[in-house]
Symmetry: C2
Subunit: 258 residues, 2 copies
C-alpha cells in the first residue's frame, strides 16, 4: 500500500483533446494527483518514434477549468511526452503511468505499431509501473463508459501489487455494453500480422501515390491469447516486456558457424 497519494502521469497517442484521454483523466483523478503530458495532435501509428532531429515544444494548457489535474501539451511523439514529463515537468518519479484510452485495438502484433503502448513501454524503461488502455472502437463518439470499472480494477491492483521489473501492461477492452463484458483475462499476445493492400492513386500533377490499407490476419488459434479473449467478450491484459531477446533462439544461432 502506498502511504501517500500516488502521482500519476497520463499520456496517449490520439492527442490531448481526444475523448479517450479525457475519460481516462476523469477516472484517474479518483486515484491520485494527475499530471497529463500528451501530444498536441494525433500520433497514431508512431510506434516508438522519438524526436531527435527536431525541436520539441511542451507547454501548460487548461482544457477543463477548475479540474484537479495539471496538463501540458507537447509537439512530440508519445514516447517524447513521457521523456519530457519525467525529466522536465515532474518533480519526482510518478507511481504510475497510464496511456490511452486509445481509440482502436492494440492487441496482438498491433502492440509494435502503437504509440499508446510505446508511451507505456517508455515509462517502463524508466522503472515506472505502466499500463496502456485501448478500446476496440475507432469512433470519436465511442462509448467509454463500460471501460470504467475494468480500468479501475486493473489500476487499483497495479497500485497495490506493483509490476514485475521490465513489464508493462497492454489492456484492450471489447466494444460491448458493460453487462456484456464477461470479465478480465490475463493473456499472451496472439501471433498475427497485417496483410497490406496499397490503394494506388494519381495526384493532380500526374504523380502516383499510395494509401496504406490492410487487414489483420490472426494466425493463432490459442484460447490463451488476447484475440481470443476479446472475441469472446473479455478484457485482455497482456504483460509486455521490452527485453526483445528471443532467448530460446540463442542456442539455435549458436549452432551456426560464426
Amino acid at each position: 500500500m502506498l502511504s501517500k497519494k500516488p502521482l500519476i502521469l497520463i499520456t496517449n497517442d490520439d492527442g490531448i483533446n481526444a475523448p479517450g484521454i479525457r475519460f481516462l483523466i476523469e477516472i484517474m483523478n479518483s486515484f491520485g494527483d494527475v499530471i497529463v503530458v500528451a501530444p498536441d495532435a494525433p500520433q497514431s501509428g508512431m510506434g516508438h518514434a522519438i524526436t531527435i532531429n527536431d525541436t520539441l515544444y511542451c507547454e501548460p494548457i487548461t482544457i477543463e477549468k477548475d479540474a484537479p489535474q495539471k496538463e501540458f501539451t507537447c509537439s512530440g511523439t508519445p514516447a517524447d511526452c513521457v521523456k519530457i514529463a519525467v525529466n522536465e515537468i515532474l518533480k519526482r518519479k510518478p507511481d504510475l503511468c497510464v496511456s490511452g484510452i486509445n481509440h482502436g485495438s492494440n492487441s496482438s502484433i498491433n502492440v509494435i505499431y502503437s504509440g499508446t503502448m510505446s508511451a507505456a513501454v517508455e515509462a517502463g524503461t524508466q522503472g515506472i509501473p505502466s499500463i496502456g488502455f485501448s478500446l476496440l472502437d475507432y469512433s470519436l463518439e465511442a462509448n467509454f463508459e463500460p471501460s470504467e470499472k475494468f480500468i479501475k480494477k486493473v489500476v487499483s491492483e497495479c497500485l497495490e501489487n506493483g509490476l514485475p521489473k521490465g513489464v508493462v501492461l497492454n489492456v484492450n477492452i471489447p466494444k460491448l455494453s458493460g453487462k456484456n463484458i464477461k470479465g478480465i483475462k490475463v493473456c499472451r499476445q496472439a501471433k498475427g500480422h497485417w496483410s497490406e493492400e496499397f490503394d494506388k492513386r494519381t495526384n493532380p500533377l500526374g504523380r502516383d501515390y499510395y494509401w496504406l490499407t490492410g487487414k489483420f490476419i490472426n494466425e493463432d488459434e490459442g484460447k490463451d491469447t488476447d484475440e481470443w479473449a476479446l472475441e469472446n467478450g473479455y478484457v485482455s491484459v497482456v504483460p509486455v516486456q521490452f527485453d526483445l531477446t528471443a532467448h530460446h533462439a540463442i542456442k539455435d544461432i549458436n549452432n551456426w558457424t560464426l
Copy 2:
C-alpha cells in the same frame, strides 16, 4: 541450400543515399538479386512508425549507373518501405531482408527506438528471414570495410540455415579496425535505458523549446549481453522477437484479484 539465386530486399533508416546502405548493397550483390526500397530522407529514431494519415510516394531511382540492383525511394518510414516493397514492388516474397548498415548502435534498449530494426522486424512479421546491421560509428565518414567479412558470415549462415519462426537478428559491429575485431558472439539484449537531459532554449519569438539529449545507462553486468560483447571487441548478434509477451509474468498477474 537454396536452389535458385536468392531475392534480397534491402532497406535502412538513414536514407537511400547513406554510405551504410550503399556499402551493404555492394556486399549483397554477391549473394543474389537485390531490390532496394529505402527512405528518401533520414528516418532515425522512427521506431516502428507507419504512415496511416498521409500519402506515400514510392518511385524507381538510379543512384549507380549500370549497377545490378534495382532501387526505389519511398517517402515513408522504414516499416513503410518493407510493407510497400513486399506488397507492391516485389513479384515474390524475398528470401532475405537486410536493413542498414545503420550509422550508430542499435544494441540494448536502442532496439526499440531503431528504424533499422523496425524494418527488419516488419519483414519478420511477414515471414521473411531478416537481419538489421549497425556499426557503432555515427559519422558519415565511418569506415564500413571491417564490417564486410562479418556481414558475409552472418548472411551466408542465415541463407543456409534460415531463422526460427518469429525471430530476426540484431547485429551490431564495434568501431574497430578489422584485425581488432575478435569474432562474433550470440548474445542477449543488455538491460539498459536512456537518461534524458533536455536542452531548453528560447526561440526568436520568445517561446521556449527543447532538444532531446541523453545518455545511455547500461544496468547490466552480464557477460552474455550485446553491450559486453561490443565493449570487448566482438560483433554482437541478438535474436529478437516480436512476441512481446512477458510469459513469466502471466502467473504473477493471474494472482491479482481481477
